[in-house]
Symmetry: C2
Subunit: 295 residues, 2 copies
Amino acid sequence: MDTDGDLDLWVREVYRNDLVGLSFKVEKTLFSGQSQYQKVDVVKTRHHGVMLLNDGFVMLSERDEFVYHEMIAHVPLFVHPSPKRVLVVGGGDGGTVREVLRHKAVERAVLVEIDELVVNVCRKHLPSVSCALDDPRLEILFEDAVKYVGRTKEIFDVILVDSTDPVGPAVLLFDKAFYKKAASILGPDGILISQAESPFYDEDVQRSMLTNQRPFFKNLQLYLFPTLTYPGGHWSFGYASKGLCPVGDFDPARVERSGISTRYYNPRIHMSAFVLPNFVAENLSGIVDPIAYRF
Amino acid sequence: MDTDGDLDLWVREVYRNDLVGLSFKVEKTLFSGQSQYQKVDVVKTRHHGVMLLNDGFVMLSERDEFVYHEMIAHVPLFVHPSPKRVLVVGGGDGGTVREVLRHKAVERAVLVEIDELVVNVCRKHLPSVSCALDDPRLEILFEDAVKYVGRTKEIFDVILVDSTDPVGPAVLLFDKAFYKKAASILGPDGILISQAESPFYDEDVQRSMLTNQRPFFKNLQLYLFPTLTYPGGHWSFGYASKGLCPVGDFDPARVERSGISTRYYNPRIHMSAFVLPNFVAENLSGIVDPIAYRF
């Protein structure tokens, strides 16, 4: 019992191989269920709002999800000159498509989520995250994204891989075969963003992910942002494009013209996110491309 | 017992008011003692090297201390045109002075640490951090820094407040009276850097700290960096100067000329660190000064 007379309930995630543990004080469990793919839990935390966990790993919290979702969506959508068609792989919570659909240029978005339970649970318990899932521009498919990318005839401007860690079904989303197919359904200015783990803890994943993308993309980068709910607190996305440089080809004025208001992202955050600390740059030396910074 | 047959030993820090918990797998305790100020523990962790804890709060780990220490030291020392005299408040582990003393311009550094036990324990168990404590340019004083700053007749170019959280004796290091005295012993180009907590969790501390500095400094900023061992993973320093802008008055070429090699810091990291996410900029609106970015 804690001082309020409640059970002293915490949810604790231990990152792979006992690397580090992160715990959050829980007030109550809102949902607990099992799909054919994973265990899905939603808890109300004391200090981080509602939290979604898959197989015991924190996927997002209401308190800080805006950082991840703004950074996965606005960076490529403000670099691509005309992002009309966007494919989101994973991301069944809806946070990524919420940010994507704030761009008026977007005419059609396709969300391919393998696990319908995640979407249903987030619709009910995380309305601030899932609020755009009924947008008429959005089609939701419950399907293995690897298969979808292999069979679709559509061409996309931007693909966002909002995946879990490279374990279970998500392993194939870090694979060369997937990147080859993804590149083949991207238009000439196409951009692929991929969830790329921790720059401190996942040096190997980052190297292999970008190396697997290399044959199919002209410009490869890694960009960084903070997170409260993933171990290490510093997280990253891979940026892969058919040619557009995320800094050199970025027009900061577009952000203001868009009228999109954000809580983390802004034009200087966009450009700064690609500045790599020395230890990250050394890890990715010869894999990421040089950037023509204006500073 | 874990799979190795060892005790499954973890050290777990719960940040104030059950905000979040961070745990690290421990192999063994190297030191455990009590000074008149605090409990001091040193543990060998499985994945983060040797770790120092004061009163159960993680102060540093061998794995990521380079980020904090490079950012507290190199940012002001590469902005100040001629940093000859540097005062370090707290920082008894020696990591901050290690980075300070890599600058050839520094003729004298004074380390004022209240707790001699911290210095002794780090000398023994954290040699990669404490390795510069015998530099002939360094004087170490075991004294309350508030009293030292009140009594000294010396003038410093840079003051680095490498303090704990604002609890216990460190409370006074976040106080207006301390900043007034600190400003009075800084030269005309003087810069004061202060440990400034988490931008996600400590909005109030950041506002009050900078507001307390405001009357005595012309240029106030906050800058950001990642950490593996502090809750939230995103941490900050306050920058307060008699006039120098940390971006506008920074010459990136000086870093290369210095020959100082770093694992986190570089000139673009320096400039990017001052770019604030919208939610941080809003929290500090009207308190920090505008920056004339070149990007």
